[in-house]
Amino acid sequence: MTHFRIDIRQRAEELLALYPRSRSAMLPLLHLAQEQDGYLSDEGIAEVAQLTGTTAADVRGTAAFYDMFHLEPVGKYVVGVCTNIACLLAGGEEMLEHASSTLGCAVGSTSPDGLFTLEETECLADCNIAPVVQVNHRYVRTTTPEAFDQLIDDLRAGKLEHDVPSHGTLIRVRRSGGLHASRAEIAAERLEAREAREARTPKETK
């Protein structure tokens, strides 16, 4: 019995197969754990540890390094407002203040209805439409207080389920196709190419 749902477990195994070493799948698997539970639960962390051949302490220690991973429960929607340089010059601080008042929660906390968590973010690389707001890492491009309030109303009303899936950075990232060749076949191909190259490069005489 795994903690991961069957579809998440299936995707986790697909991801693991992509890497020469299973630990490399750490960050993608943590994204999946968060997609299922909304944050990194103890059970999710244990399963990632088991899949990557590490320990829960190791997984937690790694996850804590990265801003996108939540070690405590968060709202269904994580609202990120950027206040870094380009957004600062476009009213990012005012937008963050407005967001806090609309959502009724301080920066870094969750709204009373448990739906929204507000974060002050660093640069999100969309600086031509500043100040930048992301919800669950989707650019929502609301640069005015009115547009922001409309967005929150729409999210509450469930109108943006497709545009802003919950905690699903990788929810629509699914690999199809692949190399489907053994390492030995690839090694033989590279060796053949190298020998061909050496044959056409005259050896330097000493």
Partner: protein, 434 residues
């Protein structure tokens, strides 16, 4: 007047709403370069890139061809694409991964062929949810199309590309940190030497790490030849480059500009680009190459957009981001916010960076928000000098990676250029603009 005669090399599909699809890509010359490259010897493909003198577009500006030539001979080696674009106010790779993912994928396949690498990774910052979807779709399409996978287009070359998500850490743009993250660890930059992952990289094997924009230039270079690319621009800065223009301009955005032939003034004021400063205000300062770069005053606006030209004036073109600050901007607040960013993003391995960034941030905070002391201004310069002795550019290295010595740039620039603003803040007991 801006020079607009150069071809668009990496942004040629920008007018198409479906620029990210395989069908549009194929209809606009997509995967022709790859077919051509596969008929060439790999070393000849590499030599075209060498001839193009393509400087890496990530930030350090190291020649891509030279990076490739350092790849240690080994039965296994890797190509890793750096799409962790996180330098504040830089958003050109964001544009490329969402708008032209096939161009990136084709570039990666060409590079892998030239390097004779059969495993590539595209590392993209996790906040690019749509970018991850588009690039993964492009990879899937490329497999379906025969441009990726076993025996590409019937050749004797096979390649796999894995799209790998980051999870929110500025430091992972540093190539050895990125490799650590790709190995599933905390993104701690590795101790140098070895200076280049081409010697010891992913899993200890030789690895080339190239930026998204660098890769996106390759299809054009193969189609048109390295010499045609090198004919654009001037000096060491060849070809075109994407500039992300942000801040107090009328038309912030990503613009492809021929290197050296245009100036900061052209980019900021020309109607084809930035279209001038908001409300026709005057410029106080610009940040010429990402927030790690020392600032320029308006007297340097006529400097050409070239790597060496900017370096000669003591800053860098860096990540291709230009931020315009005008007379409405509080430069103290701007420098404080940039320091807060570095303080937050320091990985914590090295004392000068971990402690220094926090000390500078706190001193800047009290000057901006009240409680600043007159002696704080020189204290700040002293702190900056401790992190990057001499306060030269490029800076002296006191830490494992360049994040640390980049911290002083904005504060040092702001104090040098606008000391009166700091004095005014201290006397006023906080920001006079509030």
């Amino acid at each position: 007047m801006a020079t607009l005669s150069a071809p668009r090399i990496v942004s040629s599909r920008s007018e198409f709403a479906d620029s990210f699809t395989l069908s549009r890509y194929l209809a606009t010359g997509g995967y022709v370069a790859l077919r051509k490259a596969l008929t060439m010897f790999p070393e000849d493909v590499a030599s075209e890139v060498d001839q193009a003198s393509l400087l890496g577009r990530g930030g350090a500006g190291f020649p891509a061809g030279r990076k490739w030539s350092m790849l240690r001979k080994s039965p296994v080696s890797y190509l890793v694409v750096n799409g962790d674009e996180s330098e504040p106010a830089t958003f050109k790779d964001h544009y490329l991964v969402e708008r032209d993912p096939h161009q990136l994928v084709e570039g990666v396949i060409i590079a892998a062929y030239a390097l004779q690498v059969s495993q590539a990774f595209i590392f993209m910052r996790g906040e690019f949810a749509l970018g991850l979807e588009r690039v993964q779709q492009a990879v899937n399409d490329a497999y379906e199309h025969g441009a990726l996978g076993p025996k590409i287009f019937g050749s004797n070359f096979s390649l796999d590309i894995v799209v790998h998500p980051g999870a929110g850490a500025y430091i992972c743009g540093e190539e050895t940190s990125l490799i650590e993250a790709l190995e599933g660890k905390r993104g701690f930059p590795r101790i140098k030497p070895p200076f280049f992952p081409a010697v010891t990289g992913l899993y200890g094997e030789p690895t080339v790490v190239n930026n998204v924009e660098t890769m996106s230039n390759l299809p054009w270079i193969v189609n048109n030849g390295g010499a045609a690319f090198a004919a654009l621009g001037a000096g060491r800065s060849t070809g075109t480059r994407l500039f992300a223009l942000a801040g107090r301009v009328n038309r912030p955005g990503v613009y492809e500009v021929e290197m050296v032939k245009n100036t900061f003034r052209d980019l900021i004021y020309d109607p084809a680009f930035g279209g001038g400063v908001i409300d026709d205000k005057s410029i106080r300062a610009i940040i010429p190459g990402g927030v790690s770069a020392p600032w320029f005053g308006p007297e340097l606006l006529d400097l050409p957009l070239g790597q060496d030209e900017v370096a000669e004036k003591g800053s860098m073109l860096g990540s291709g981001s230009i931020v315009v600050m005008d007379e409405t901007t509080c430069v103290v607040r701007a420098a404080w916010r940039i320091t807060k960013f570095f303080s937050r993003e320091s990985c914590g391995q090295c004392t000068p960076c971990r402690e220094g960034s926090g000390w500078i941030e706190r001193a800047m905070y009290r000057i901006e928000h009240g409680g600043g002391r007159m002696e704080d201004i020189d204290l700040l310069l002293d702190l900056c000098d401790n992190i990057a002795p001499g306060l030269t550019w490029p800076p002296q290295q006191t830490t494992i990676c360049v994040l640390g010595p980049s911290i002083p740039s904005s504060v040092h620039s702001a104090i040098q250029m606008f000391r009166d603003d700091f004095v005014e803040h201290v006397e006023h007991g906080g920001c006079p603009h509030d």
